[in-house]
Symmetry: T
Subunit: 72 residues, 12 copies
């Protein structure tokens, strides 16, 4: 194997629908500036309550991506 | 900003359906005695297994609410 | 299974005798205002030292109980 | 020593001034419904940023108090 | 109660669909060699990203089962 | 010293009597299939409450044993 | 609510005066390249000792900001 | 109150009898060189297994004592 | 991707030479009964001291392997 | 660089004024027996409550100092 | 001292040789875009296993650097 | 077994060469004032970066030694 180096950044994605959707929203937003995303890890799951309903899921993740160039 | 004070309580909600549903069940139950719930944080996700199937999701959350009065 | 909701509270029981006794003392005291206690988890074990002897065990536990009504 | 039992609750106090002031605000608010508060522990320190200034300190603490009666 | 003993093992289940599905996949696979599974706890949730989409949920759980015999 | 390798497994022992007894019960059960157990570490102490009494101590431990052969 | 995405970065601010001042110094420095900072969390508080006096407070924080554009 | 300063040291006591006895053994040994011990906290509980029996409880504690003089 | 399931086991490898060698020793020993090992994570690094020299590195790792069959 | 060795000790300083003052009080007391203190890290912040006021800040720190000689 | 601000980023370096080499590889890669790197902390050490051999060390570190300018 | 008591102290060793060498340096320095050192545990691994090279490994360990006498 080669000696690859990865960078990890921390994002909080949100969604009114589900935990999975909040993660995807964070990944989608990150894809606008980062190439070569490889994996994520969920760090924390929180949310807002509005009128006694879970109104917004907020999931903090770390995303790892190959540090091939000056991306980000 | 004013000097608001929030109280956090810890609940475990359960659901046969999903993690999100277990959280909502806890929030719904709490709404019977607490006003002004603002946010939650997932602390732990567990569940029961029955006949080799996940039979019940049990999600422990902390709920934060405004301590405006003697609620709870 | 039904969608039960549990509440967890944090107490510190103390005893001159043993860790087990300190836990029971906390449970006994809690039983005066809480119905339907189901389980506990030990969070921390500390104690006072007096004249080079362990003089008091102080055990912090979380107690989980069924949130069936407005108890507590 | 007698076998005292303490209860711990979790509050988030806020202040525009300092961490110490946010803690005192939480204690002051809690004093309206709880007697016999004895100690606190800082769990988390966060805050809001407004216009590039720390605008509000938010300090989450646990407060321990003697469970002598049905207070709270 | 009798003095039951439980064993806990650590598995990572994966799914293209959801966190809940990844847990069930781990439980299903474990059921081929383990009898009497009773509960699980989620330890970590990670995933792979492929072409800017969450392509695979990977959920690490601990499964507890009754140690009645030489199973596993 | 030689280059020994140890394996660690996680068990939950239970007892109506004490924390120490719950640990011994787990060790006794494990001894039916594992040779050469060397040490344990307590990971978590929980218990059930029945009729306001601690009815069952549940202690989760890791047991380390010499991996000399295909035991377990 | 819309599906906002936040990024969190980790900074260590320092100050000869106080913990609060070290946090503000980090926020002020970050404001030169980041727009839309929203909140911070204190991760760690350390400091240097010089001639038996606390000579410098060093506070590590995470700052969350709205990821609206390519800022940073 | 005065501005007292306490020092905390970390000891591992052992006993063939119980967790409580292992803690007392550590306190007793420490009393030979330290005055004014005030409290302890259990950090870790381990033990040795000999011939399928728990043969020795090893409890690591931190002991806090008043730093009134050059003791220790 | 397919819905693979992995199992993780915990081993402590030892070596008189280095941390890396202790990890390799654990992997080598595990290879005698486990097929398809994929990755490891270091959990803890300890060691024995003999005559003021580090005499033995003891590295606890988790090893993940594909659960394709009844191996182990 | 040379191969310096540092020792870390754990102290709890207290103050009626502020967190910063409690840290300085611990450092001042330590300076009576320790030379060459270099840095500190805050481990825990607690306090006593008296008559609904924070009456005493208690801050536990680790202090690192150069182990040049037999100091302490 | 002046009120310096540092930024910390998280990288995973890899190497077929050793843990130390994986850290250096991450530092070397980071040096292409970051000036004034000052220190690192190891967060996690993992690796791949290929044909029963540790084939690749993967070490996640945080790197701290002076935030003097718009570097990175 | 007898009821031995061990003390644990925390040291940070450094080395330009490797993690293992930094640990040995701490043990060597400690041996000048402590007899009967038995084991160590690595708590944290950090280091300095100089001119884009890892210039100094700094490894914090706890050393356990038999508390037979007034050593240290």
């Amino acid at each position: 194997m080669t000696d690859r180096v990865y960078k990890k950044i921390e994002l909080t994605g949100s969604s009114d629908v589900s935990i999975e959707d909040a993660v995807q929203n964070a990944v989608t937003k990150a894809s606008k500036t980062i190439r070569s995303m490889r994996w994520f890890e969920i760090i924390e799951t929180r949310g807002y309550i509005d009128n006694n309903q879970v109104a917004n899921w907020q999931v903090t993740i770390k995303i790892g991506f190959t540090l091939d160039d000056g991306s980000e």
